[in-house]
Each structure stands twice: as structure tokens, then as C-alpha cells.
Amino acid sequence: MVNLIQNYANNIGQGISSVNNTTKKYYNNLTDVNSDNLLKPLDGKGYLVENNLATAPVEFAKDTYYTAKSLQKGITGKANDHELGKLNDLGLKIGGLSIAAYLMTKRQTPKMKAMEFIGFGSFLASMAIWPKVALQWPAQLIHGVNFRKQYVDEQGRKKYLTQDPNYIPFDLMKGKRKSEDLGHIADRMGVPKNEKDRNELAKEHIRKVSVQNNTLWMLTAGFATPIMTGLICNRIEGPLGKLTEKISNNRVNKMIDKIAAYQKGSAGLTGEDKDKFTKLESKIVDMKPYEGTEKKLAKLLTSKTGQVISEKDIDAINELLTEGFDTQTQKTAKFDLSEMLKADKSVINDETVNEISDAITKKLDGKYGEGYTASIFDTKKLSEHVNNFMNQNGNPKNGVLGADKSDELRNSLGQLIEDSISGNKSIREARKEVITDMATDAINNVFAKKKAAVLTDEAAGQISKAGHILRKFRAYDRTISSATHFKVENAPETIVGNNWGDVTSTLIKELHISPKELNEAKSSEELTAQLFTRKLENIAKNEEKYQKFVSNIAEKMALLDEKLDNPKSGKRNAMDVLVDGIIQNCDDTAKDLHALPFSNLAERIGGGNIEGNFIGSIKDSKLRRIKIQRVDSVKSSYMRLLHTADFFRRAEEYNTGKGGFSGNQKLDKALIEKGKKILMSSHSGDFYLKHETANNVSFYKALIWHTFNSGAMSESTKKALNKESHEVFAGKSTMAQRITKWAKHVGNLMGTNIYDFLKNNTEGINNFTRAQQTAVEKFNKIACTPDNMLYNALKGKYNSNKWLRMWTTAGSIVLGTTLAAQFAFGKQDKN
């Protein structure tokens, strides 16, 4: 390099040797310089950056390295302006990521957590994509100018070629590409080949188009970037939800496998197997989160043991004992605690003796005059007697005597006084009896007052044990609940919730509802019912369409079982494992609590067996929640939808002369009309009112029979729904079988032989248990009406469509205006 510079300098020297060696003369005679022998200046090191998919990774790596180096130079005070600019970009990214990470903590589901980062990523992507797609490419297409071309200058700083309109390094445009060729750009402008200063015109064109596009970029990015970010997130959310559901379900299923292994117990395990089980148990029944409470309870019990305890103390113990449990359970536990810590003990100390002495003195002196007691009885004897008694009984801690010993002391004190009085010859016999009675009364009164609840060692031990049992219950329940929550709960991103979304989306899709129909139907449930009926009647007319309709919906419904039960694993049904887990946890806890004086608490958690249902217990509410309220009611809604479709198909077949109802044409017409209405829209209240058939008993009976109980099913439905794929588990019924079962159940539960409206609560044809006949059970079985199901789905669809349409329109306007503006750009001034 040094040689090059020296050669260059020498050559320059030779070139200008004919020129007088003063600056003035040099400039004066500049035109006379013979430059033929001069060397060309060295080529600059600057170059245009190739930005394409192939070079992107390398450029990314280079940029990352440059930023890291800039940071190091920035901290040591050596970074230049360009490097400091890069650190600003770095700050933006760090800030954005910290926001995403924080907002993630506010989100409950994996999908929403991931969306926070995707949102930030989409924002950065939108910032990069918008100027490229909406400005750079169209400008290049129309004007032949790439105004966002980047270059690296002599100092290695990467910049946009045209960002400073007063300094565009045109010398780097060496015509390697058409957009870098001034000649080509002049051609595109229509400048004649022989035009003077042709290249200068092209340069001015580049400058002008660049200034205009850079300005337009600044004006549009504020709208475009957020809109693009929103739309990208909107598009990603669906597929991401499916992915996160799969990942989460796999994770939960693995946990369920561990629960199943834990349920087998450790009996018969030895050595390594036993160690493995211990490890497994520590995961499934993780007590760590509850260690703090357990310690607090132990501390409280230690501090109160052997002492008289108040109601407040019992509340404090109960609070720690039942932390995390519902109010009802806490009340039950307090009931047990209060029983255990009854005020049936006495505290005997010096104060007690004084109180007895004072009470006797007060009574006798009050009757026979001051000083009388002292004249007939030495109260010191009381003290000696009590001390002897306590010594003989091992001086119990804090002077606490149980009920028996307390009575013994009380009686012995009475005897002491009686003996003392009877030996006193100065007292008349008649008075002796009176005095003895009065003194005994006084003693009894003091002992009655001294009754107190005392936390004994035994009671403290029992409470401590109960606390441990309850913590263990919570630990196991926590593991099970995390799985049941994800599988069935009424919350975002659960298996049941997502499946409901899939089924209803498929329903909307299969009904081919136009935007106009959607707009009308979403305003009321009645309009939705009308639309649904009309659509379903049309579909039912065509066997092929009908079969496709029910089959596609049933396929989605069947996925619910598959996702809930995980049948492909070849292991036990996952939901059964969870149900067994709940039963095991509740039963074991109840059994352990029964062994302690916490029988009511035991019943509250696992007992109360009424007609095979654990009414009122935690076990009952947990099982009822997942089995009946969530899974069964959703499945009942699905069956109702399919049964409704089948009924519509049967009605259509009847119209074309196939199949039959009652055989009476007039009655059949009425049955079909009413049946459609009931299936489409009737809630449990309508069943109680017998679907407004008050004055026609036989019609009502026929209606219930043909709508629910007959077991009839269209052949088309059978063909479409008797699929093995719907069985999920071997031995489980097909979708067609399930529909019939559901319909008969509802018919039996809600229909009645007794046509008595005063009774209102119908009695089933079959004998259901009382637990199965509660209003809640009926509500769950009748489930969601198809029109309500569609109505809510349409509203959701309308909302998301509206949002999407509004922002897509806004985005399209911004994009359209930006694209159109290109046609006004680049026009050269006439002069």
C-alpha cells in the first residue's frame, strides 16, 4: 500500500512537471496541463450492496457483527455517527422485546404469549416490507430507479444511496444492473441518445424520484406499518393456535401418562423402581409450593400448644389449615376444629386457688359477717391441697387439667371443706351443712368459669397431620386440574373450546352463508333460526350435499374425543385417567381425614354418596364439572345439531314419498313442522311448557315420540355417520349411534306420560335418579340449540370480518394511493 501511494505521488509529479511549481501558477495554467501521462485516481472502496435472498444471510451476519462492534465502540467512546445510529436500532429491538416479554406474562395461553413476540416481529417485518413492496418495487418498475439501493462507503458504513439528495454517490453506479445504469435510466425517461448532458438528466431523475418516494414513505409508513402488523397477526393467529394446541396437548398427555403411572402406586416396587416412583411422586404431588403454609401452621401450632385458645386462634389455625380451599370447605373444617378444641378443660394455678378462696369468703362473710370465713377455715389449706393434687398428677403444663381430672379436683376440694367444717365443733350441725353447701357452690362456680379450650399436644399433632393431608390433596389436585383445565374448561385455547370453534366454523362454511345473510342473521336469534332452517331444508333436499354437510361437521366433532382421550397413544383413555385421579385424590384424602377427628371435612371432600352421586362434595363438583357440565353438555349440543339435520332430512324424504312418521298425513305435516321448530330452537323452558301443545295430549305424545324417542334415522345419515373413524376407541359407538342414544335420553327425560301441567316438572318415562332429573342436568342434556350455536358463531364471524374488512380497506386505500402516486412522480420540469 505504501508503495502504491509513493508510485502514485511520483507519477503525479512527473505529470505536472511542465507546470510552474507554485499553486497560483498551477491554477492559472490548469487548462494547459498535459494529463495524458497522469495516472487515474485509485478506485474507491465503496460499493453497492447486493440485496437478495442469496446474500441476505451474509448481509445479516455482517450487520449483526457491525452492530456488536458499534456497541463496543459506543461504550468506549469511539463510535461514529453511523455506528451510533445502529445502536439506536439495537435499542428499539431491545425495548420491543422487553415489552413483548412483559406482555407475555399477562397472557394466559401459549398462543397468546407467542403472539406478543409475533406481534413485535410482524411490526419489524412490516417496517421493512412496506417500503420495499409499496414503494421500491413499483418505483423501479415505473421509473427504473431503485431508490432504496444500499451502498457501503469507504469507511464501511452501509447507507441508502439516495437518502441524502444532496449527496448521492452516483460514481458507484457502474451499470452492473439496469437500475444502476444511467444510460438505461435515461432511455426509460425517453431522453434522446444525442442529448447533451444525458447522464446529468438521469441523475436528476434519480434524485427527484428518490426524494418523492422517501417523502411518500414517511407519509404512509405511519398507517401502513400498524395495519400490516395487525393483518399479519390476524392471519398467523389461526395456524399458530392449531400448532400451540398440538404442542400443549402433547405436553398434557405426557403429564397424564405420569399421573396414570402414579395411580398404580408403589406397592411391590423395590430398588430402582421404587426410587423412580418417588421421583415421579415428587413431580405429580409437588409439595414445594405449599411448604411455606405448612411451616406457618407448624409455627402457629407450636406457639399455641398447651395454651388456652380463643375463637380468633381457631380462625387463624383454620385459615392456614384450609388455605386455597373454597369457603364451604373452610367452614366445614372450622366446624371440625371447634369440636376438637371444645372448652372442656380447666386451667388450675395460683389464681384459681385465690379465686376459690375469694368466692368462699365472699359468700360466707356476706351471710355471717366479715371475718367469719377466716375464723372457721384456713384458706392456705386449699392452696396446699391443689398443689398436692397437681404434684400427684405430674404437674401438667400450664396447669391444664382434662375434664375428668378437673372434676376430681373439684370434688376433692369440696370434700376438703366438708371434712374441715365437720371437724369444727364450734359450728352448729345445722349450720355446718349450710356452710358446706355454700362453699361447694362457690367452688363449682369458679370451676365452671375456668372451663377453657386448650390446644393439647395431641390436638396440635392431629391438626398438623390434617394440614399435611390437605396440602397433599392440593398438590395432586393442582396437577390434575392443570390437565383438566386445558382439556375441558370454558376458557380460551382449551381443547373443548377450540373444538367448539372448529365445529361452528365448519357449520358456517357448510351452510354457505353469504356476507349479506351473515349481516342480517347476526342481528337476532330469530333471524338466525329462520336462515338456518331455510339453509338446512335446502341442503336436506340433495342427498350428496346433505351427506357432505353432516359428515364434515361430524369429522370435526369426532376430533374432540381424539384430542381429549388421546387414543392413538395405545394407553389408557386420558380423560379416564384424570377422572380416576380426582376420585383417588378425594377418596384417599377423605380416608386419611376420617382417621383424624375431621370427619365432616372428610365428607366434604370425598363423601356424601346419594344414589351413586357424591352430592355436595368436592369430588362431586369436580367430576360433575368436567364430565357433565363441560364434556357431556358440549357433546349433547353436537348430537342435537346432527339429530336436527337428520330430522330435516327425514322430513325431506317424507316429502318425496320415502319413510314415514305417524301414517296420518295431516298429523305428519304438523309433527314435522313442530319437530323442526323444537329441535332448532327449544330451550328447557319450552320442554316444561310442553311446546305449547296444552290442549292436545295425543299430539304432544306423538310429537315427543317422533322427534326424540322413535329411534328412526334417515339412511343418508346412517351412511354418512356410521363411520369407524368416529368411534375413536374400540367399543365406543359411532356418531349415528350416539345421536339416537342422545335423542332417546332427552325424550325419556323430558317427555312424560303424565299430562299434568300443574306438576310442571315432568316425570320421565324411564326411571331416572333424582340426581339425573335436576334442572341443571336437564339443561345440560337439552344443551345448546342449533340456532343459538349458529347465532353466536355468526356474531363472532361478523365481528372478526368487520375488523378485517375495515383494516383491509384502510390498508388497500393506503396501498392504492401509494402505488398511484408513482405515476405522478419523476416528471421533469419543462424548463
Binding site: 461514529n80 435499542g91 431491545i94 416479554a101 406482555l103 434524485r207 414517511m218 405511519g222 365481528n799 375488523w803
Partner: protein, 370 residues
């Protein structure tokens, strides 16, 4: 958003010092006769407000008008100043996006979605506020310790070549900071800063304050590299910490406490004024004014109250949460505070130790140029 503008002169002309254009109506007057009106401005709230106002108004009016025409006089400064446009429009669009959906939600979902949308919209506002205000966490300690005000504003006045022969040169006003560029700080306007003081008054003070010595022969030459060091370090600190503080703004805005503020802000909570027919118009107008003031005071109080509450919520985390979810607020607060503190300390350290690191040219040492 858009391009990086933080290290650039993103400000725009204040009203000219003298409203009238200098009397250069004759184009034959040589350019060197035009005085340099570039002046340092006081670094106070008034200047900041006026500069921001003019920057924003020009960015939305004058500069786009020139830019869209492809004006020959469009400059890089104008392009950078227009960087404010996407920031402001983007913030408003984001607010619209966050709040746009709940209008069509069923009532049961509307409430929750609206609360979150409102909070996110507030977050956009807090982001900008926190980002700007947090600069002071670096610049104030640095100014106190080194005497260098890295935010020192100045107004640059230049005259453009007239479009027509008979036209007067038009003044162009640009708002800059003396130390906005590390490569080209405006040392030239730091000479003769104070009347009656030596030419190098400013540099003398900086040299003395940073331990380079008193009565230096050429304090400007000694201090200039130190200033560059301070610009580089403080700019790094600002770039990294202000965005983190902007994030804290968003985190603060999403706390549940703000629900109460939005309730206080709602139309429902606005205590309506019912004119008293028995009173005259003037009294009613006064009463209406009092009623409005009371409502505004109520909203302000609610804001203050909930700001404190939200800050506590951010710091303490949700009561039921554990681990990162519980302590995320503390962690990010600590992170932002650490960035500011480290940035300020590093800048001050750089300035204070500069004397010991000064580069002296060793005539015996070989220097290779490549």
C-alpha cells in the same frame, strides 16, 4: 418506526429571530456578506416546546409539500424530520387498531376487550413520554458532572439560492443540537460564547471541570476529543436506555389500575351541567365552566391516584403470580434503570479519565497507513 431518527437532527425551524428577511434583494450582493445568524438557544422547556411544535408542523406541511414535488432544495434534514410523521400517525393508528375491534364485540366480551384496548392505547402514549423523559436520566448527570450539555440546542440559519433572478435569497431555519453529531460537533459556535470572557471560555471551563487543567494554551484542542468521547458514550446510553424506558411506559399502562381511570374518563362519569333557568346566561356560563373544571380535576386526580397504583402493581406483580410472572415488572424496571445508570456513569467515567488516556504523538513510533 420508519427510519432511525434518534441520532439525527430531527428538528425544524423555529420562527426566525427577526421576522423580516434581511434586505438582500439584490442578487449581485456577494454571498459572504450574509451574516451567520446561527445561534445557540437556551436549553429550557420553552425552547423544547417551540422546537417540537415547529418540527411537527413542518414535518406534516412544508417538508412533504417540497418532498412530493421532488424539490431541488429538499434536504436530508427534512427527510429525517419527517421521521416524526410515521411515529405520530403510527401511534394513532395503533391506538385505533387496539380499540377498533371491541365496538362490534358482544356486550359480554366488549368490556374486557375495551379495557385492554384502552390500556394498550395509553401504552402507546406512555411509550413516547417515557422514552423522551428518560433521556434526562443520562443527560442531566452527565451535564452536572462534565459540564457538557449533550442536548444543547441551536438554530441554524442558511440562505438558499433564489429561484428567480429578481428574487431574494430565502432563509432556511433548522433546529439542531450542538453535539448531535459525533463526527461533526459544532465546535465553531462554542467560541466566544460569553461576552467579556476569553474566546475559549467554554472549552476552558470543560477542561477545568474534567481535570485537564487550568489556563491551557489551547483548551479547545484539548477538549474537543473529550467532547467526542462524551457524545459517543452518552448517545449509546440514550439509545439503549430510552427504548427500555419506553417499554416501561407500556408495562405501566397495561396494569389493571387504569380500568378505574378509564371509568373516570368515560362519558358516563362526566357530571353533566344542568343550566338553571332562574339564573342569567352569564351565571350559567360561569357555572358550566366551574362544572367542567371540577370534572377535569376529578379526572386529573383519578390519573394521579391510578398512576401511583399502577406503579405499585407493576413493581409488585400480580398477587397470585409466581416466578418470572410475579417479578417481571421489577426485572424490567431494574434493567432500564441499570442501563441509564451504567450509561451515565460510563460517560462520566470516560470524561473524567480522559486526561489519563490522552493520545500523544510519539515521533519515534512508526505509523503505517493502509
Amino acid at each position: 418506526m420508519g427510519i432511525d431518527t434518534s441520532n439525527a437532527n430531527t428538528t425544524i425551524a423555529l420562527t426566525p429571530k427577526s421576522a423580516t428577511c434581511p434586505p438582500y434583494n439584490h442578487v449581485h450582493i456577494p454571498a459572504e456578506h450574509i451574516p451567520d445568524e446561527t445561534t445557540i438557544l437556551p436549553n429550557n422547556l420553552n425552547t423544547r416546546a417551540r422546537r417540537s411544535f415547529q418540527k411537527v408542523t413542518s414535518a406534516f406541511t412544508e417538508y412533504p409539500a417540497k418532498g412530493l414535488k421532488g424539490d431541488k432544495k429538499s434536504t436530508f434534514y427534512e427527510f429525517l424530520t419527517m421521521g416524526n410523521v410515521p411515529y405520530i400517525l403510527g401511534s394513532l393508528t395503533f391506538m385505533g387498531l387496539f380499540n377498533g375491534a371491541p365496538s362490534w364485540f358482544p356486550n359480554v366480551n366488549k368490556k374486557g376487550a375495551r379495557h385492554w384496548g384502552n390500556r394498550m392505547a395509553l401504552g402507546v402514549l406512555f411509550y413516547g413520554l417515557a422514552k423522551n423523559l428518560s433521556k434526562s436520566l443520562v443527560t442531566v448527570p452527565v451535564k452536572m458532572a462534565t459540564g457538557i450539555d449533550t442536548e444543547m440546542p441551536y438554530q441554524k440559519v442558511s440562505y438558499t439560492i433564489p429561484d428567480r433572478k429578481d428574487a431574494a435569497p430565502e432563509p432556511v431555519y433548522e433546529q439542531h443540537k450542538v453535539f448531535e453529531s459525533r463526527d461533526f460537533p459544532r465546535y465553531d459556535i462554542l467560541y466566544n460564547m460569553k461576552e467579556g470572557e476569553p474566546r475559549n471560555y467554554y472549552f476552558d471551563r470543560i477542561a477545568q471541570k474534567n481535570g485537564l487543567g487550568k489556563n491551557l494554551e489551547a483548551s479547545d484542542g484539548e477538549v474537543k476529543p473529550l467532547i467526542k468521547d462524551v457524545i459517543s458514550r452518552s448517545s449509546t446510553a440514550k439509545s439503549l436506555s430510552t427504548y427500555a424506558w419506553g417499554g416501561i411506559g407500556v408495562m405501566l399502562a397495561v396494569q389493571p389500575a387504569w380500568t378505574n381511570f378509564f371509568k373516570a374518563l368515560s362519558k358516563k362519569s362526566w357530571k353533566k351541567f344542568i343550566p338553571n333557568n332562574n339564573e342569567n346566561k352569564f351565571i350559567n356560563i360561569v357555572d358550566k365552566g366551574i362544572n367542567t373544571s371540577k370534572n377535569l380535576w376529578r379526572i386529573t386526580q383519578s390519573f394521579g391516584r391510578n398512576l401511583v397504583k399502577a406503579s405499585k402493581e407493576l413493581y409488585n406483580g400480580p398477587a397470585t403470580a409466581k416466578g418470572f410472572n410475579k417479578h417481571a415488572g421489577k426485572i424490567f424496571l431494574g434493567f432500564a434503570a441499570a442501563l441509564s445508570a451504567f450509561g451515565a456513569i460510563n460517560t462520566i467515567y470516560g470524561a473524567k479519565t480522559y486526561g489519563g488516556r490522552k493520545i500523544t504523538i510519539d515521533s519515534k513510533k512508526k505509523v503505517q497507513v493502509d
